[in-house]
Symmetry: C2
Subunit: 381 residues, 2 copies
Amino acid sequence: MDKKNKICIGILGGGQLARMSAIQAYELGLDIAIIEKEFNSPAGQLTKFEYTGWMDDENVIAEFCNKADVVTLENEFIESEKLRHIEEHYHKKVIPSSKTIGLIQDKFIQKTTLKNNNIPVPKFIEVTSKSSYEEIKEVLGERFLLKSRVMGYDGYGNASVSNENEFREAYGRLSKRSDKLMAEAFVDFDKELAVMIVRTSKEIDAYPVVETIQENHICKIIIAPAEVDESIIQKVKRMAIDCVKAVEGYGLFGIELFLTKKNKILINEMAPRPHNSGHYTIEGCITPQFENHIRAVLDLPLGSTKMIKKYAVMINLLGKKTEDDKMKIYNECLKHKDVHLHIYGKASSRLGRKMGHITIVGNDLNKILSKAKSIEEKINL
Amino acid sequence: MDKKNKICIGILGGGQLARMSAIQAYELGLDIAIIEKEFNSPAGQLTKFEYTGWMDDENVIAEFCNKADVVTLENEFIESEKLRHIEEHYHKKVIPSSKTIGLIQDKFIQKTTLKNNNIPVPKFIEVTSKSSYEEIKEVLGERFLLKSRVMGYDGYGNASVSNENEFREAYGRLSKRSDKLMAEAFVDFDKELAVMIVRTSKEIDAYPVVETIQENHICKIIIAPAEVDESIIQKVKRMAIDCVKAVEGYGLFGIELFLTKKNKILINEMAPRPHNSGHYTIEGCITPQFENHIRAVLDLPLGSTKMIKKYAVMINLLGKKTEDDKMKIYNECLKHKDVHLHIYGKASSRLGRKMGHITIVGNDLNKILSKAKSIEEKINL
């Protein structure tokens, strides 16, 4: 990196993850450049260095790379070849690297990589137009998930299958999105867990292990830390660190795991970026995930990942059928003295869209959890 | 306020106080408009709604007021008539109001207002070209401060006087800045204290009382909470609330006080805005001063002002003679796991200029204080 007054972090993508990363970068006195398909994205609003276009518009990429000293991303959907182009043609460091993203963005390659590194994952199998329900069932059992290998998020690209009709319907639907599919054994889990791992050239650290509660395949509630045995916590952290090492990952990673009813831990999937399951860290931990993300991108020393109180609860504010006036929402939510409200500044709401989140930090889990739930119910964003 | 999707707060001024306010506004999904004399100010960098110009450029003011739903400020130097123009001509609420600013910005009027409300202040007297050292000395005693009534900050506009020569020198120097001067009795204080007060139409709340340690008239260190008797704490909070009520103030206020060696409390001065003595609240309290500032400007319910650990220490990073490369500064500072670094993104440094600050939160005051001091020494910003 050049010696100069102001360092600029370029983020590929301008959604809420980029927005919250930008906010933390600003506290550190850094500049932010955003590239996003549409103008005025949640993060684009916050910077003069907003580039509108996408990865195949070489002019826009050139301008963006000219401004950014180092490049990071807020989703794993950009083909790794495009990231390699930024690394090789524009000589910009991309964190996580094109190589790491190449090992993560295709879930079949991701799972294969983890499996080859002796990291426990649910049974999985590639699915092509030639695959039959019977063949898959033989390997995975009667109940399994059909998944898009790429571009899946928040349940888009996933289907639960337990008979041949469901398989045909799901195959027809998912193969329209992408013809690269895979199937994964259904895991009869006790809890879904997640953990954020952050890594620089000198350090690797794990945030607390949290429980994630999904609704319609979308993360709805995070309970930090997860109420599981300390031995499980330690095992989860070790496995998550192994995952990051397996993909030669540097930067910030969200790893989602299953804790089975038999206390077995299996990796569900990993994301090479800030993660919804880590939003609670903004107020719940000494260093927010977004700050450690920025620090890791610059290969700076990492901040403490410890919690500031015993517990934190985060609930996503997902788009509802009706949308209240903003002042009503603020009044409803903020009348609770210890609630932290985050709204992402998206141009419009739609059913189930991640519009914001709330966090409460405290020492009495039941109290903060029921409070957070009752507030979320009253907010129509 | 109109019912609409996005609410915009207009801030008069684009320095670090506006920048940190903007950051908190962004977490709440609000828009920010900044007006500042120069382009690319610390806060102006963070928004598309950056208006370059100042209060006498009616076109710029009109554009700014057209964008902002409500207006606030980051210093008390704008003549109250100009604020009244925004209120009356553009029909925008200004928080704190032109009336409140009119009672604060001239320190002689401020002190007179407080005195008339039976709030204890140091003895003070108006100083004109006709005032003699002997006359002032008769009222205030041998040692006093000569002060600009307006536009003083960080020691600019203050002079300590203890004989006639000093008086003449100080008078000559200060009257060049402004011919409105006052003199104030020297207070032989034990500690300097400060407290942030936040007020809406429905609530008034006090943050913890802190000790402020000045160097060359500039705030250098904040210790939160101040280590004084609980009875003093309560009295300070009551007096600070009285100050805000005396000026009919709504919004956020920083009140600086003297604790004399005889345990008497005197108001030093009040600022109608976020205050350097409240920066520790970003990580030290449940709700940062900047968030409650934004909430109060919108007359929303206030967040908790409680601390999250027993103590917080904040040290200002003032411009030094030499300025290190930014990466060196980041590495030096951030290698301490629990240090929170804030850099304001100012275009250039100069000796004594407020360039950033660090905060450490913890339960052992001596430990965090000596750690913060040793870090500050190594940072050349």
